[in-house]
């Protein structure tokens, strides 16, 4: 099957700074693709290149076989997107917003507009000005706008920003249902791991403009070095010792008695002895449940994430 979204060694250089460094990935029809990374990793820049707002310095982006640079109009006919916040005209009503964007698409009539309004369940408020909407309603109107042209690719940049837990759950179920019914591809970016973990079939992790790993959530978690938590008498001394060992990938102090490490579980015996030899009491050594967060910290070098 032809991928709906294809990036081939795409880079963006501004001045001397490389914002996006040679990234490539593909998204298949019917796939939810998660785009994960700390703020400033380059997720939004990548998405803006996908929808033609920013020109890549090099590389090629195709949407359903159409080059975004050379066949912009054809490529955009296949994409519906929310870039950052749902950016809509606050002084127009919800329906007027949809009418404005419908006139920029081929073959969208009033019936289709009503269809997407029903789909996102906005019928009651659609004739009110958007400035009176809650963030959740704006989000839904944004999705309605993105779906107007029956896209093959739906791009949602940080769609859960500002949503309450119920809203996030609803959005997740909505996207799942949409993918099952229409077989479109969805690209969801987020800096919140738990969302992506539940929603995405495949995940790409970005850090400093590079894609550091791509795979299914299961694959990524399985590839992890296990997390091991050490309860000790002096966490700071223990951290120094553990960090200097070649068997430990990451050692960080969680509180004055706890050190969190990523390491091979079979090496804990040797390290335990080393700790005791240097006068640090070891109270417990515990294997931690593996999560995407561990991988994330491992891959992005412990960048701050929310």
């Amino acid at each position: 099957m032809e991928p709906t979204v294809k990036l081939e060694s795409v880079s963006k250089v501004i001045g001397k700074k490389t914002i996006i460094d040679n990234i490539s990935f593909e998204i298949q029809p019917g796939e939810v693709f998660g785009f994960l990374g700390p703020n400033g990793a380059g997720k939004t820049t990548t998405i803006r290149m996908l929808v033609g707002l920013i020109k890549p310095t090099s590389g090629k982006i195709t949407i359903c076989g159409h080059d975004v640079r050379k066949q912009f109009v054809k490529a955009m006919e296949h994409i519906g997107s929310i870039v950052e916040n749902p950016e809509l005209y606050k002084y127009l009503t919800g329906r007027e917003n949809l009418e404005v964007f419908a006139r920029m698409l081929p073959d969208v009539d009033a019936a289709r507009i009503q269809e997407v309004i029903d789909l996102v369940d906005l019928t009651a408020r659609v004739d009110d000005q958007v400035r009176t909407y809650s963030l959740g309603m704006r989000q839904r109107l944004g999705i309605a706008q993105a779906l107007l042209g029956r896209p093959d690719v739906l791009i949602l940049d940080e769609p859960t920003n500002g949503l309450d837990p119920m809203g996030i759950r609803d959005l997740r179920l909505f996207i799942r249902k949409l993918v099952e019914e229409t077989n479109l591809s969805v690209l969801v970016s987020s800096h919140i791991l738990s969302e992506i973990e539940l929603l995405a079939d495949r995940v790409a992790i970005m850090s400093y403009g590079k894609i550091v790993q791509v795979g299914t959530v299961r694959e990524l978690v399985d590839s992890l070095s296990p997390g091991v938590d050490w309860r000790v008498s002096d966490a700071f001394a223990a951290q120094k010792l553990l960090a200097s060992s070649p068997d430990v990938q990451l050692a960080e102090v969680k509180d004055e008695h706890t050190v969190h490490t990523l390491m091979d579980i079979r090496k804990t015996g040797g390290l335990n002895r080393a700790l005791l030899d240097s006068g640090i009491e070891v109270w417990t050594v515990e294997r931690r449940v593996q999560t995407l967060e561990d991988l994330f910290i491992q891959l992005t070098g412990g960048d701050h994430i929310a």
């Binding site: 912009f72 006139r103 920029m104 706008q145």
Partner: protein, 332 residues
């Protein structure tokens, strides 16, 4: 017509501007301004009746001429102003000699005066108020991201915005004329469309004054020309405002820049002819109706054709810059 088409895009822009109610605000300002001027006119007529006991325009014009002569006799007036007065005097004398009333009382004359006075400041100001945020507003709101990721080429979107500028310029001209006519007519009466008016006076800053090409026109024809010239000036200002709106992300800054352009234009024109190459500046060439009135242009060598050419060059330049920037830039 298949979507997306240009007409639909223009409709979108009109919808956006319409719902911001800027044009309503401009219309209200217009009504207030015109009402004030009409009332001032009314008071003037009253006063004149009281002083002269008659409304005969010949008496009034004669009085005007005598007044001007008295002012010219005083030694304290500046050279440039003296010249202006002399032209004024000669024109009035010509009107009197040919038995034509230069200010035939009525709403059409009010329209003529309003357009000729409002051409360089009020009308451009209105178009700036309506149009200044046509691109920068979308930048501020972030809607530019949604707008430019639709399957429509960027140049088409900007073209639609420019056509909207021209459309609103036309609507503004029509509204101004209608408001002037409707309100001033209450006091001045609604007739005077066919009153003769003289055009073709030729004056130059060096002091030459010629009546060689003077001919009479019916008022409606003169007004059509005057409104047409006002349309050109307003459209040029609107186009430059569009360019500024593309280049400057902040709408307030954009309005500030446009105000500076307008005001410096009036200042430069009134400073006169010392800096002759300033005639190539766009804002010195806004007073197109003065050519119709037969007032001396601010700088030697300026004619209607010259001013139109300068305006055309600046407009094309503004469009090139606006379109190039809009289609090339990265949107963050």
């Amino acid at each position: 017509m298949r979507n997306p088409n240009l007409l639909g895009l223009v409709r979108n822009e009109v919808m956006k501007i319409g719902s911001k109610r800027r044009f309503a605000v401009v219309s209200i300002i217009l009504v207030i301004l015109v009402s004030m001027f009409t009332y001032a006119q009314y008071r003037q007529i009253e006063e004149q009746l009281e002083k002269q006991g008659t409304l005969d325009w010949r008496v009034e014009l004669q009085q005007d001429i005598v007044d001007t002569q008295n002012r010219l006799a005083s030694s304290s007036i500046q050279d440039e102003f003296r010249q202006f007065l002399e032209f004024d005097l000669k024109q009035n004398q010509y009107y009197l000699d040919n038995d034509i009333n230069p200010n035939y009382p009525g709403a059409p004359t009010f329209i003529r005066i309003f357009f000729s006075q409002g051409l360089t400041l009020v009308l451009p100001l209105f178009i700036i108020v309506i149009m200044a945020d046509i691109v920068s507003g979308e930048q501020n709101d972030g809607t530019i991201k949604t707008l430019l990721s639709r399957p429509v080429k960027r140049w088409k979107i900007l073209l639609a915005k420019w056509l909207t500028v021209l459309l609103y310029t036309s609507v503004l001209m029509a509204t101004t004329a209608i408001v002037c006519y409707a309100i001033s007519g209450i006091v001045l009466g609604y007739d005077g469309w066919t009153a003769p008016i003289l055009t073709g006076f030729q004056a130059s800053p060096s002091g030459a004054f010629s009546t060689e090409f003077v001919h009479t026109l019916p008022m409606w024809e003169y007004l059509l020309m005057a409104v047409g010239l006002a349309w050109i000036v307003t459209a040029v200002v609107g186009t430059i405002a569009l360019m500024v709106s593309v280049l400057v992300k902040n709408t307030a800054t954009g309005i500030g820049i446009m105000m500076a352009v307008l005001i410096s234009g009036t200042l430069l024109s009134s400073l006169g002819s010392s800096w002759t190459s300033s005639k190539y500046l766009v804002n010195v060439n806004f007073n197109l109706i003065s050519y119709l009135d037969g007032q001396a242009p601010p700088i030697e060598g300026m004619t209607l054709a010259f001013s139109l050419a300068v305006l055309a060059c600046w407009t094309i330049g503004a469009l090139i810059v606006a379109f190039w920037n809009f289609t090339q830039k990265d949107i963050y």
